[in-house]
């Protein structure tokens, strides 16, 4: 018997763990027909707008978004999408916490969601620091005091604009995007968590 190539092993593991029917389903359990189940995808939608507007800001630069009307508008779109992103994400978190969403082997879904939450805070924080206005100056020095007081102020300097800018546009979005990707894959692998009193094998609702 010939030895299997690593490509075959990966393919078989993929098909075993996440068949295409699970990755792109056309039916969902009946309990998903509730408004509380829309906040995860609303968070993803807000994240998409943040990424697209952020790319526009990065390519056109502050000389555009601090001076032109359309630049101001895209800058505001980026900012307010972040506000909505956090509102949707926190309501998603409340919903999942109160239905104990780590049940049914969904611990990794819960953990990746928690890490994404923390990474989002770090990304938003560096975003606030690079506004180059009095708000960002105030936030940077208050945060500097805070980080110093807990003994981690030596590891990174929140008053270093260049460092914070690069963390915000180059590093943290990649980390957040990667964690979010794993989170969504875990949701597809394990399925959407049922409410506490619902049957896991609830009647399927055809989405057609």
């Amino acid at each position: 018997m010939s030895k299997k190539l690593w490509t075959a092993k990966v393919r078989e593991a993929w098909q075993r763990n996440l068949p295409i029917e699970k990755l792109l389903p056309d039916t969902q359990p009946a309990y998903v027909a509730s408004w509380i189940y829309v906040f995860g995808v609303l968070t993803l939608a807000a994240f998409s707008i943040i990424l697209i507007s952020g790319l526009a800001l990065a390519f056109a630069g502050p000389a555009w978004y601090h001076t032109s009307s359309f630049g101001h508008w895209v800058n505001s779109l980026h900012f307010w999408s972040v506000q909505l992103f956090f509102v949707f994400m926190v309501i998603h978190l409340w919903g999942k916490f109160w239905m104990a969403a780590w049940r049914g082997k969904r611990l990794m879904t819960w953990i990746t969601g928690s890490i994404a939450f923390v990474a989002s805070i770090a990304t938003a924080f560096t975003g606030y620091l690079i506004q180059t206005n009095f708000d960002s100056q105030w936030i940077a020095f208050e945060a500097k005091d805070g980080f110093n007081s807990v003994g981690i102020g030596a590891f990174f300097n929140v008053t270093n604009l260049g460092q914070m800018l690069l963390l915000h546009v180059a590093f943290l979005p990649l980390i957040l995007g990667a964690i979010t990707f794993v989170h969504v894959i875990m949701v597809r692998k394990r399925g959407v968590v049922p409410p506490i009193d619902a049957d896991e094998n609830n009647t399927k609702v055809d989405s057609k």
Binding site: A33, S34, W35, I36, V87, V90, G95
Partner: protein, 55 residues
């Protein structure tokens, strides 16, 4: 921005304080709004797409 909106946006933040708890009115409004959305999401009926298909 002009008129009352500009005036409103340039006011100082008002803070509420109960012992060690301190929150700005703005943040309190956002938090209460989020509680409201959460409550509505739990209790508002979700539209049933199959209704039109019933024979």
């Amino acid at each position: 921005m002009s008129g009352w909106f500009s005036h409103f946006m340039n006011l100082h933040a008002v803070y509420l304080k109960w012992g060690w708890i301190q929150v700005s009115v703005t943040n309190l409004i956002v938090i209460l709004l989020m509680f409201t959305i959460f409550g509505l999401a739990l209790f508002l009926p979700f539209p049933d797409r199959r209704k039109g298909d019933k024979k």
